[in-house]
């Protein structure tokens, strides 16, 4: 069974169609990169998997979106519960203006069912997984805003990991960061792949080439090509893909 799957998905915002019959699937423990020019629909596609598009006025969807074989747009599905199983990391690091500890514990406290001891363990685990523990273990009570940009983004990743999601969505997570922070996070993602499935939108093709297992190229709402990254960048099938990745945009 595929971890995530889209079947003939079309998306409209009011009268404007953003995605045209997109079909794509991935197994678990993979990194799938979504690339393409601005406005091509890759972020819209990403947001389908945690139903964040629901908040955009005029949003309409046809086709099926499945996680672990289950249609997440079925009427009985509670989007709030869905978002607890699917983590999201945004482009700009958005730590809450609370302490580092409270940031990571935020998702855990939503359930109201975990003991303080268990929360502490999970916070430590999440910070270890996002390679931030050593840097912050002595200052967990300090404000999250006192961290550098790269650290804040890793904190947001830890925050997402703490609730043990099965799928992690990332919308250009390193585009606001400097090269060293970017490199650290890329190594982190490759490490995380062992336990999680990750879908990442990136406008940086080289990043997609470096870290992903599968790459999908979107253009003007269409999925032009989807394949194993090593084949995608050495021998793409579609002429549009070739033009895009070789930089012949004009």
């Amino acid at each position: 069974m595929y971890k995530l799957q889209a079947e003939n998905v079309s998306v409209w915002y009011g009268t404007h169609q953003a995605l045209y019959e997109v079909s794509l699937a991935s197994e678990r423990n993979q990194i799938v990169a979504l690339i393409g020019p601005s406005g091509c629909g890759k972020s819209t596609f990403l947001r389908l998997f945690n139903r964040m598009n629901d908040f955009i006025p005029g949003f309409r969807l046809t086709g099926k979106v499945l996680i672990d074989g289950e249609d997440i747009y079925a009427p009985h599905v509670d989007p709030v519960l869905l978002r607890r199983r699917v983590g999201m990391v945004f482009q700009k690091p958005t730590p809450f203006p609370f302490s580092i500890y409270e940031n990571v514990a935020y998702g855990l406290r939503l359930q109201n069912r975990l003991s303080e001891k268990l929360i502490r363990e999970r916070v430590e685990q999440a910070l270890q997984q996002s390679a931030l523990w050593d840097e912050v273990k002595d200052k967990l009570k300090k404000s999250a805003l006192s961290l550098s940009g790269g650290q804040q983004q890793r904190l947001c990743i830890a925050r997402a990991l703490a609730v043990r999601p099965s799928l992690i969505l990332m919308d250009e997570p390193t585009s606001a960061l400097d090269p060293i922070s970017t490199a650290k996070i890329e190594e982190l993602l490759i490490d995380l792949k062992r336990s999680y499935t990750i879908v990442i939108v990136t406008h940086n093709m080289q990043q997609a080439a470096r870290i992903s297992d599968y790459t999908a190229f979107f253009k003007e709402g269409l999925l032009i090509e989807y394949g194993r990254t090593k084949d995608f960048f050495t021998n793409p099938q579609h002429p549009e893909t070739l033009r895009y990745i070789t930089g012949r945009f004009g």
């Binding site: 490199a183 190594e187 490759i190 080439a209 470096r210 870290i211 990254t229 090593k230 960048f233 050495t234």
Partner: protein, 229 residues
Amino acid sequence: MSLIETEILKLQARTRQVTTIMQKRLELFADAVAAEDWDRLREVRRYQAEALAQDMRLDRRCARILALHQPVAQDLRLVLAVLRMHFYLTEISDRLEALSERLAIHMPKIPPEKLRRVPFATLVQNVRQLLSSCLEAFFQADSQWAKRIPKEDDAVDRSYERCIREIYTQVTAPLSYEESQAWVELAIAAKTFEKIADYAIGIADASIYHTEGVYYWHRSQASQSDTSS
């Protein structure tokens, strides 16, 4: 370890696999020649399929590292040096294969006492030594060692000269049709090994390019001051 470091390590491992097979075949050849066991030469062919598979994998890895990781500076030069070396190794393999077939057929036609006067086994051994040095200098990224290689090449040149002179002497005497054919094949073999030595030097050159970024001997024929591309 960073992503690019991991990829470079994988590339070096792959390259090692190709050179190991290459050296194993050369060792087989040298041992057969030294033992005057011409049938054993045919064993060189046994490793052909594996060698081809390794070749393709190395090619694919080079393409992949360039496409996916955009190496620069020394990493990029390593990939280019590996590709150049790969060409030389392919040439050496091909010629070795061809030679082993032909010598297996023709060497038995020369009487052993006459054959022993040609220091062919020494030539083969010297070339094998040279190639080994060049490859090691490459993997150790030791450009100082690579620059000293031509001295070892001298030993090869001397054995080659002695082989050729002895062959010239032998063919002046009246010979049967089959035996003269065999002597010609031997001369070709000696020349081939001299060529293999050249390729080995090319590998050393590639390794200097990898470590220092300069073309040491390769372009010395071209004007030294011309650095435009």
